[in-house]
């Protein structure tokens, strides 16, 4: 149902490729597809119109650069337009010169204000601050309880008192000052944008606390209504930014684009999971690829860079290319990869992953078992698994607490992987990887330009002429 934009483009681009340059009619055809993709991603109708107008202008002007492949050219333009529309850079928090820095959280019911108040508190703590959470949602039953529990979980004190939310918020800020907490996060009740009474109440909370930052909490699954909500809250509170929640689902998050366009303020934070640590500053370029259905390659690379040492990486890669990849290397790689975060999350970031695989729950216990099996092998066995016979297999199974069939399966899997690795260089595009992952990765090369921001540096290393290219990076 929600095929990605790149898939949509395939047909058009196959035709375009033979042409060489973009004609106006081609641009229009592509724009129609982009329009559909944006609407399906829940970008607001009006916002779609204005973005398309911008893309069209850029696309037609860009026809002069005939050197580029038209497909790449359009994708690049679209991506740039989206990144620009989403706000270019990540936000930077400026702390108040006279603490506390007050942060007000507002939004519809069920958008995730309470949970994200706590997550934000945790984030501030990581920045070396001492936040205080203020529970001013006195409406929903047990909302303050929830905040208290969450506060405990992230190690941040919570202030609340029954009665009037405006008074509670005011007292909360005073309390923060008294305790010397330098950040004060005020959680408010969810309210409908058209509820005049409650909107007035939140306005009074805002006046009473004079927040340095007012964040609108928006559910990534929100549809066309996001614009109305953002407009109303912005009118009442003068928003400073948006916190986008529930991004861990498969909603495209087009609402973010709508909100950004309307409010004109950046999306500051994004929440990507149920755990308190699944929360970080927002990266517009990454959501752009998501709206277009292109995966999150940049985050993946960033994580990889944190984990891998360059030299070590080159050695491994060399081994890999020579086909000398042993189970020892496999084990080492596996451990490195796990340092990058839960395997589940990594899968989700890969572009071109088949959906069933991306959403498959990876059992980390399964991975532990694989590690145990390899560790139960002797050095000789790890270097040359072919020597593993029935009795060795049984020993390994016993040693790792698994069944012999598990051992066999791992070995089989490893052999297949080795074959795959050997075929990797020299073959263009994702072909080799594809056979391992099923049909969906097909023919993506050159179609998913990530805006040309990350260009593989083709410097003189021992890599073969045609390096393995990740879709989206050429």
């Amino acid at each position: 149902m929600f095929e990605s934009l790149s898939e949509r483009f395939e047909g058009i681009f196959d035709r375009l490729r033979s042409k060489g340059t973009l004609r106006e009619s081609d641009v229009d055809e592509v724009l129609r597809e982009i329009r559909l993709a944006l609407l399906e991603a829940d970008v607001n109708f009006v916002v779609v119109k204005s973005i398309l107008a911008r893309i069209r202008e850029a696309a037609i002007g860009a026809r002069v650069h005939e050197a580029l492949n038209p497909a790449q050219q359009v994708i690049k333009l679209v991506n740039e337009a989206l990144v620009e529309a989403l706000g270019g850079e990540s936000v930077r928090i400026q702390y108040a010169s006279r603490p506390p820095t007050v942060v007000l959280m507002a939004g519809l019911q069920g958008s995730g204000k309470t949970t994200n108040s706590a997550k934000l508190a945790r984030w501030f703590r990581q920045q070396g601050r001492n936040p205080l959470l203020v529970g001013a949602d006195l409406q929903r039953p047990a909302a303050v309880e929830q905040l208290r529990t969450m506060g405990e979980r992230v190690g941040v004190p919570v202030f609340s008192q029954p009665g009037d939310p405006v008074e509670t918020a005011r007292a909360g800020v005073d309390e923060a000052r008294r305790l010397g907490r330098d950040v004060c996060i005020v959680d408010t009740a969810g309210r409908l944008a058209i509820d005049a009474e409650l909107m007035d109440q939140v306005r009074r909370i805002s006046q009473a606390t004079s927040p340095d930052y007012t964040f609108l909490v928006v559910d990534a699954m929100t549809g066309q209504d996001a614009v109305t909500v953002a407009e109303s809250f912005d009118a009442a509170l003068a928003l400073d930014g948006v916190i986008l929640t529930k991004l861990d689902g498969d909603a495209r998050g087009g609402a973010a684009l709508s909100v950004k366009e309307v409010v004109g303020k950046p999306i500051a934070f994004a929440s990507t999971g149920e755990k308190v640590e699944d929360f970080d500053l927002f990266h517009p370029d990454r959501l752009a690829s998501r709206i277009l259905g292109m995966g999150d390659v940049l985050t993946l690379i960033e994580k990889a860079e944190q984990v891998y040492e360059k030299e070590e990486a080159e050695q491994t890669a060399a081994k890999l290319l020579e086909g000398k990849f042993t189970l020892d290397d496999f084990l080492e790689q596996l451990q490195q990869v796990r340092k990058m975060g839960p395997l589940q999350n990594l899968m989700g970031m890969m572009p071109g992953m088949p959906k069933e695989m991306r959403n498959a729950e990876i059992d980390e216990g399964q991975v532990n078992r694989v590690e145990a099996i390899i560790r139960s092998m002797t050095r000789d066995e790890r270097v040359d698994p072919t020597i593993i016979d029935g009795s060795r297999r049984l020993r390994i199974a016993n040693g790792s607490g698994t069944q012999t069939s598990d051992v066999s399966q791992l070995l089989k899997q490893f052999r297949e992987m080795q074959k795959l690795m050997k075929r990797m260089p020299g073959i263009s595009g994702t072909k080799s990887a594809r056979s391992g992952r099923g049909k969906k990765g097909k023919g993506k090369k050159g179609r998913k330009g990530g805006g040309g921001r990350v260009t593989p540096a083709g410097t003189g290393r021992t890599t073969p002429k045609q390096p393995f290219t990740l879709p989206g990076l050429d």
């Binding site: 109708f45 039953p141 993946l300 990486a313 491994t316 790689q333 990594l346 992987m417 690795m421 290393r461």
Partner: protein, 376 residues
């Protein structure tokens, strides 16, 4: 950089192969040394678990006062007028949306504006195109040029898509009926249960709430407050405990006390989380075990939800066989058009609509009012 990318790819191939192995292993049961979940096994075992865990299964509310008398079909209280009133409030903000369509004869622009109206109501691109294609054929066949006639046809078409014989909440005689409430996070499951408990109580049914949301902080407290307000029983488990056992415990208690209805709350979950959806499957299975009888599985859907709502409905139906949709927060500015797409595509009827914060604001769905409001 190339090297890093290469390794990332390698990593992913590794991960993918592991995931693949994992998937297959799960499929063929005999490969794994299975640490089978205990509650799965049998009713007797569950009872043992419950008895040992003193935290789980505490009855908070007083015992049910009245033994029950049964009337088979369910009728939600007649609060129909509030649908119109409540929607009118939201409608006021957006009046005149179709103004320019009405002002001239049907032309190319009319179609564009109709498309815009439907998409803006979150009906979705695919459904909108389908609807308008049908309307176009109709307009051609009957050579309609009057915009009012065209609009009437469109509304009739939409109402036709929403037509269903049965929007009642099912209740069968015999053991305690279980109504499960499922959905993604923050849609209003707990609140909906509170309201339904009050309404069902008013109809003379004795209700037990099962605090199956053992994940979110203070979710059980929230439900307990509703139980307090409505005078229903509540069965709670420990935070982080097994939701199936909480529900089963509630069913057993309801059976022992001769209660009619168990309202099973579940933790909000994104439909993409395979393990959580499996957990939900189990909740349904366990709830359906004797003496329980699952007669409704209601998907609670926030009216502001966009196109992802369709995927949600699909996934939840695949997992637990959803019998109806509760569309909440329709008193806001959102039109809830995705519910139309859901009923049209998946055939799941919208049963109830949330139009405000009070108990009486949860009303039976009215397709006519809903369609009118789409264009308001």
């Amino acid at each position: 950089m190339e090297i890093v990318i290469l390794l990332v790819v390698l990593a992913v191939v590794i991960v993918a192969s592991l995931a693949y192995v994992g998937l297959r292993a799960r499929g063929s049961t005999d490969l794994e040394p299975p640490p089978a979940p205990p509650v799965e096994a049998g009713a007797s075992e569950v009872v043992v678990v419950e008895d040992e865990g003193q935290a789980s299964g505490t009855v908070l509310a007083p015992p049910p006062e009245a033994p029950t008398v049964e009337g088979p079909p369910v009728e939600v209280p007649p609060v129909r007028p509030s649908f119109r009133d409540r929607l009118a409030k939201a409608r006021g903000t957006f009046s005149g949306y179709l103004g320019s369509i009405r002002s001239r004869k049907v032309d190319a622009e009319t179609w564009d504006e109709l498309e815009e109206a439907l998409i803006r109501a979150d009906v979705g691109v695919a459904a909108t195109q389908q609807i308008l294609d049908q309307l176009r054929t109709m307009a051609k066949d009957e050579s309609i040029s009057d915009p009012e006639v065209l609009l009437e046809r469109l509304k009739a078409l939409l109402k036709g898509m929403l037509a269903t014989s049965d929007r009642s909440l099912h209740h069968q005689a015999g053991g305690p009926n279980v109504w499960l409430f499922v959905g993604v996070n923050g849609v209003g499951k707990t609140t909906t249960i509170g309201k339904i408990a009050r309404q069902q109580g008013a109809q003379g049914r004795s209700v037990v709430m099962a605090a199956g949301d053992t994940f979110r902080a203070a979710a059980a407290e929230q439900l307990a407050m509703w139980a307090d307000r409505t005078g229903a029983d509540i069965v709670r488990g420990s935070e982080g405990g097994d939701p199936s056992s909480v529900i089963f415990d509630a069913v057993e208690r309801a059976a022992a006390r001769g209660n009619d209805l168990v309202l099973g709350d579940t933790a909000g979950r994104l439909h993409t989380k395979t393990n959580l959806m499996d957990e939900l499957r189990k909740v349904r299975r366990v709830a359906d075990r004797d003496p329980g009888n699952v007669t409704e599985v209601l998907l609670v859907l926030d009216a502001t939800t966009g196109q992802n709502g369709l995927v949600q409905a699909q996934q939840f139906t695949d997992a637990v066989d959803v019998t109806g949709v509760v569309l909440t927060k329709l008193d806001g500015s959102a039109k809830g058009g995705i519910a139309l797409a859901i009923q049209a595509t998946l055939g799941i009827p919208i049963k109830l609509v949330g139009l405000g914060e009070t108990v009486d604001d949860l009303v039976e769905f009215d397709p006519d009012e809903f369609v009118e409001a789409l264009f308001a």
